[in-house]
């Protein structure tokens, strides 16, 4: 007995010594890690401050307000920043952004959620291991490549089918955009479906439900918050995506409900015009205002997605 105690003590003292010996390096490593996380946060805060500072004159400077203020943004439809009478109507641009996003989600949601359902519920393991990496490769395609493909190939293809007046339009850009967000929705939805406990599925099957009923009524409904989170993140990506819409949408700032008309989106407007705008002009501030709006919008969307995922995790952990 005593022997055991001494051994224990010996171990303890060894442990203490070893802890002391490594303290300095651990201390340094910990601080380095702390600093790197600190810098990441600092980066976000600095970007936030910079964008909002440049957008602020829209609210405060009387000189800028004559050309561009909140009232003026929504009282005119036209976007004519380079003009004798510059007008910065944001209605057509905001509406255009959502037109493209709606088209993108319309195609992306059924395809990505369907694919996630198939791989997690129905596909044999081998096929699953084949499909999953390939969909994830899709996420690695640079958006400029997708945009180029949409501009050269898809636009002509859709033009020959629909014979729309405008070759480059919201539909074309939306379909191209859906390629960019399918992997986002797919991978999150697939993870959510995979994390549904086996016991639930087995219980459902044991009660006489078939695979189809189990997949839809049990797995999908339990994983729904995760699937929703994927869709919300996909929405955020679609709103912010720039290169694809810049190349494939035609960039005409017209207000029309027709999805075969050309559109100009918020992100594409910034990308196309910020390069040569006069520093400190009203136009410059308006572009930053658009940037700030996009920033806030994606911030809200991403936090919403996180909230939803958190709820899913609690639901899975708490209820079972």
């Amino acid at each position: 007995m005593e022997n055991l105690k001494t051994i224990e003590k010996k171990h303890q003292s060894e442990f203490v010594i070893s802890k002391k010996r490594f303290r300095l390096s651990e201390f340094i490593i910990e601080k380095v890690i702390f600093l790197s996380s600190f810098f990441a946060i600092l980066g976000v805060i600095l970007i936030f401050v910079f964008i909002f500072r440049e957008a602020l004159p829209v609210f405060t400077s009387p000189e800028v307000k004559k050309e561009a203020s909140l009232n003026l943004f929504f009282s005119t439809v036209t976007w004519q920043p380079i003009s004798d009478d510059p007008r910065y109507g944001l209605i057509a641009i905001i509406f255009g952004t959502f037109k493209v996003v709606v088209v993108a989600l319309f195609f992306a949601i059924p395809i990505s959620v369907g694919a996630a359902m198939y791989t997690s519920e129905f596909a044999p393991l081998k096929l699953k291991e084949f499909i999953k990496p390939i969909v994830e490769i899709l996420a690695g395609i640079p958006s400029v490549v997708l945009g180029f493909f949409a501009l050269m190939v898809m636009a002509s293809f859709f033009h020959s089918i629909f014979h729309s007046t405008m070759r480059l339009n919201a539909f074309n850009a939306g379909v191209a955009l859906s390629f960019a967000i399918i992997p986002v929705i797919y991978s999150i939805a697939e993870d959510a479906l995979n994390s549904v406990p086996r016991s639930l599925k087995e219980a459902s099957l044991a009660l006489g439900a078939n695979r189809w009923q189990t997949a839809f009524r049990v797995s999908l409904s339990v994983a729904m918050p995760g699937v929703l989170a994927g869709i919300i993140l996909g929405l955020g990506r679609a709103v912010g995506e720039t290169m694809i819409v810049l190349m494939a949408s035609g960039n005409a700032s017209m207000l029309s409900a027709n999805i075969f008309d050309s559109v100009r989106t918020m992100s594409a407007t910034i990308a196309a015009e910020l390069g040569e705008v006069v520093h400190g002009s009203a136009h410059y501030n308006v572009l930053f205002f658009i940037g700030a709006s996009l920033f806030i919008f994606t911030l809200i969307i991403n936090s919403l997605a996180q909230l939803v995922v958190g709820r899913l995790q609690r639901k899975l952990a708490g209820k079972i």
Partner: protein
Amino acid sequence: MKKLITVIGILSLSFTVMLSVFAAKTITIKGSDTLLILGQRWAEVYMNQNPGVVIQVTGGGSGVGIAALINGSTDICEASRSIKSSEIDKLKERFNTTGVEILVARDGLAVYLNEENKVSELTLEQLKGIYTGKITNWKELGGVDAKIVLYGRENSSGTYVYFKENVLMGADFASQTQTLPGTGAIVNAISRDRYGIGYGGAAYAKGVKYCKVKKDAQTPGYEPTLENVKNGKYPISRYLYWYLRNKPTGEIKKLVDFVLSEQGQQIVSKVGYFPVK
């Protein structure tokens, strides 16, 4: 010991290589996308003839180039429009100079149509009507009954400003004008779009046809050919510029002389623009 000698040898070798790279005079040229091809050709030929010189040519747009000239990040600025007085003021503020303007080439701003389009002649007045949205159907211009699809450049482009000032006479582009990033994209779009119309440099047209432009209804229409631009018959032509901060000296002067020489101006014609002389 042997190792040490090899290490020293490699080090000194790489050092001399680095030295020779840095010793080579680098000239930076930045600006108009319209002049980008031309600038690159000049640079290629000049560097072949003068192996000691390195010339970097980049695009970005006339305004970007002038901004770079003002903040000192480029030696030469290429521009498809003349420098604005506000920009000269800034140059004065920074470098106490009004800059040096050199006319390096002429460009006919071409109007492109799809090859299948029946319309092949337009007056300046009609072009203005088309791009301001007053004329919306090819029928009104003697073509088939189809909507006109407008293509143009982004408002950050010198070509946009030039067209707006000299064809639209300052009026705004119609909101249904699709703006594409680059003349190449416009030409590509029109080659696939039967009812499209667009504008851009005369050097780019491939797979599309040039629209003959008439000053008014009475005068005949001209294509943007060398002759027509040179003798001023083609109504939409402009100069292309190089801007420098100071009177060129040394290597830059040699380059400017080369550009304005017969050989340099031959390159201008080869690329598809028009010589200044």
